[in-house]
């Protein structure tokens, strides 16, 4: 009798049993629901992050332009249209005080608040217009010019009251419209958010990544081949394997310290240059490529090697004529993922001084340059509100590149990788 009270009933028809089973199924559903909630939450985080960056940054690709009637005969530009010919025309126009001319024209048209509505970007565009057609200087004309950052931010919805008033006035006169911001794609860093661009940073990223790929890919592949196909089992090989596995887990900022101490201090290479950035990132990417390469070489079946050896190829010929070409798609996939990571890397490049203000796109691997992620970091530090949307817009550009590279890696994997 006592045994029956100790063990719960196990008959399906008993009410206690059905209740217990129901409880177990409920907890099953709860557990399953928790799992679904966890993964949904992760996906929602990603969606929120992308939406957040997208909605903030999309405005950075556009720029408000205002209509400005300007009477050149009333400005003190002292420019002679007849003299504005030949290669020096641009310099002559740039030497004239266009900023004041714009300011007084804006005041004449839209009142005192509008005095500072235009900035460098407008001056630049006006210069272009005058150089293209000096004859506009003889009379009055109406131009569409990009507004300065303050008015631009106000027009997009949250500026200070003075700028807000200018925007309202311009809207009443239908003198304000939104245009695509070409400057953002073709320009470099600047102090004024309305004339900044990502081209300089993109070029810096391109040179840096080129140096990284040219160094890390061949060396990484050769090291992978050595470790997988030739390395004898000894202490050297163990040391190499241990260092590669450790290097893959070393924080990226440590590579920056290494670059600072070795490339800048000992080797005296140029500071802030894509050459040093690329070298540093190459050291960081190299172990990733070796690990990916070894995995890819491992999947090539031994029968291929045996067949090639059997017809008289040397070990070196087997490796370079047969194994490596078959492993290449896998190696490339791993390389692209490693390079994409290097492309988004910021911290080591801050260490080697790639955070300087660089207003001109670099023209080679030893010019001072910055890269896109560092540019994002620099802009995020700026106090001017106009930089918020520029930072987010630059993030959109960076994310597009990451997506492109990862997409390429997935395509390569699906298209070329063989299952043996």
């Amino acid at each position: 009798m006592s045994a029956a009270t100790q063990h719960p009933s196990s008959r399906w028809t008993d009410e206690a049993m059905t209740r217990r089973v129901r409880r177990r199924y409920i907890s099953e559903r709860i557990f399953r629901g928790t799992g679904l909630a966890a993964i949904s939450l992760s996906v929602l985080f990603l969606a929120f992050l992308l939406w957040n960056m997208g909605s903030k940054g999309i405005g950075g690709f556009t720029q408000y332009e205002a209509q400005l009637p300007i009477d050149f005969t009333k400005t003190d530009l002292f420019l002679d249209p007849a003299a504005l010919k030949g290669p020096d025309a641009r310099e002559t126009v740039a030497g004239a005080d266009l900023t004041t001319a714009l300011s007084s024209a804006a005041q004449a048209a839209y009142g005192r608040d509008a005095a500072e509505m235009f900035s460098d970007a407008a001056v630049e565009k006006l210069t272009d217009k005058i150089v293209a057609d000096p004859n506009i200087l003889t009379g009055s004309t109406t131009l569409w010019l990009p507004v300065g950052s303050k008015v631009d931010v106000a027009a997009k919805g949250n500026g200070d009251p003075a700028a807000e008033r200018v925007v309202n006035l311009l809207n009443q006169k239908h003198a304000l419209h939104r245009a695509f911001n070409m400057q953002f794609l073709t320009g470099a860093d600047a102090t004024d958010p309305s004339s900044v661009g990502v081209w300089g940073a993109l070029k810096g990223s391109f040179y840096t990544i080129m140096v990284t790929i040219l160094l890390a890919f061949p060396i990484g592949v050769l090291a992978a081949v050595y470790l997988e196909e030739f390395a004898p089992r000894n202490r050297w090989t163990d040391a190499i394997e241990v260092s590669i596995n450790n290097l893959a887990a070393v924080p990226s900022i440590i590579f920056g310290l290494l670059g600072l101490a070795v490339f800048l201090d000992v080797m005296n290479l140029p500071r802030s240059a894509p050459l040093v950035g690329g070298l540093t990132l190459a050291l960081m990417t190299f172990p990733v490529i070796v690990i990916a390469g070894r995995n890819a070489i491992k999947t090539v079946p031994p029968s291929i090697r045996d067949a090639a050896l059997g017809v008289g190829a040397s070990k070196m010929q087997v490796t370079f004529h047969h194994v490596l070409p078959l492993a290449l798609p896998g190696i490339l996939t791993g390389t692209i993922i490693g390079v994409a990571r290097a492309l988004g890397e910021t911290a080591p490049l801050l260490m080697i001084g790639m955070r300087a203000f660089v207003a001109a796109p670099p023209t080679g691997i030893s010019d001072p340059a910055t890269v896109l992620p560092v540019q994002i970091f620099l802009w995020s530090d700026e106090v001017d509100r106009g930089f918020i949307e520029k930072t987010s817009a630059a993030i959109i550009v960076l994310l597009l590149f990451m997506l492109l590279m990862n997409g390429l890696a997935i395509y390569l994997r699906n298209r070329f990788e063989r299952r043996w």
Partner: protein
Amino acid sequence: MSLSLALVAILIVAVAAGWFGFARASRLRTASRLHSLPSYHGAYAALWAAIPALLLIAAWAPMQWRMVDQAVLASPEGKALPNFEMQRESILSEAHEIASGEREQGFNPQSSTIAPRIRAEESRFAVMGGAAAILIALAGAFLALRRNSAEFRARTGVERWAMVVLFAASLIAILTTLGILLSLLFESLRFFRLYPAQDFFFGTEWSPQMAIRADQAGSSGAFGSIPLMWGTFFIGAIIAMIVAVPLGLMSAIYLTQYAPSRLRAWLKPILEILAGVPTVVYGYFAALTVAPIVRDFGLSIGITSASSESALAAGSVMGIMIIPFVSSMADDSIAAVPQAMRDGSLAMGATKSETIRKVLLPAALPGVMGGVLLAVSRAIGETMIVVMAAGLAANLTLNPFQSVTTVTTQIVGLLTGEQEFDSPKTLAAFALGLALFGITLLLNLIALHIVRRYREQYE
């Protein structure tokens, strides 16, 4: 300039030697049977011409500027420079910039007088190095071509070179590790000579502002790393893991045990995107969007010290970044549990969740723990999120709404700004780097050890 000319010359010599070897072997082929194909004869000569010479240039290039400086200092103009080292260095670096045409004139008139000297010494040493390299290339080509005959085993020679290149490529890994260790150790030792090591490791005050003049107030220059270690641990190992471990683990369980395969095919790449987002983007997100929300929430529940650079904002965003990492580690460990254990549990009438909770997870626990340790090591080495979202104030606090600072934040803070390579501030960054390197290495070794022991259990 003339070193790159020498480089071109070496390549020309190599190509010529290669072509010459190939042509001669092809002629021999008409008369007798060759051991190696003519292309191997060519490659053999080209490799002997190129590799030793290139090695010489690679060794020479980084040495050259030191030799130039020494020669300049030994010259009459150099002897006139002030003896004080820092002053001399700055004049020299100005003179270098003038010599390379980067600037017209230095602040110090002496830099203009020694600039021509630098230019002369530079070209002298470059000609010396370049000429030596070209001579070695020619000698290599000559020696290699002399062995050109029908019986010569050129292929074996080429393969021996290939082997050397392969081995050298894999040695880069050891060299990098050594480079990291030596540079960190070396600079840290210099720091500990200026600042006692026990104060660095056990001091509780961190304020790296150094007095520039002796009478300046309020700049003690204290380098006690305990507050930084705590901040790093608080953000990376506590807050981030509170976010990442449950979400990552439950995501992995849902993906591997419950999700239909078509849903899994969509969800896995999405998680991978979360891992691929650059950290600077997370940092911006944390600083601009999450931090104000956290601060307002803190203020609304009555925590008046809530900072806009709170530990919670940085830690939670870091946790989101780590989710895919934890998830894939957990995924691997759960997949490694033998199918028989799962089948046994299900056969006894356990529900799926009971099987997971009472059989799979306990069995996978060591693997999951190892994965979490790896995630912690990654989180404490992460830089951009904390640089952008956590503060610079070194507080020893348990309040997640307050600002704390981390090792990586301080490294960035110490090394950006005006840099004197010998100041304790700069050297302190290397000491912090050494500590960071040691901690992450230790965590990785422990984690790998746990994971490996656990794998062996089931194999």
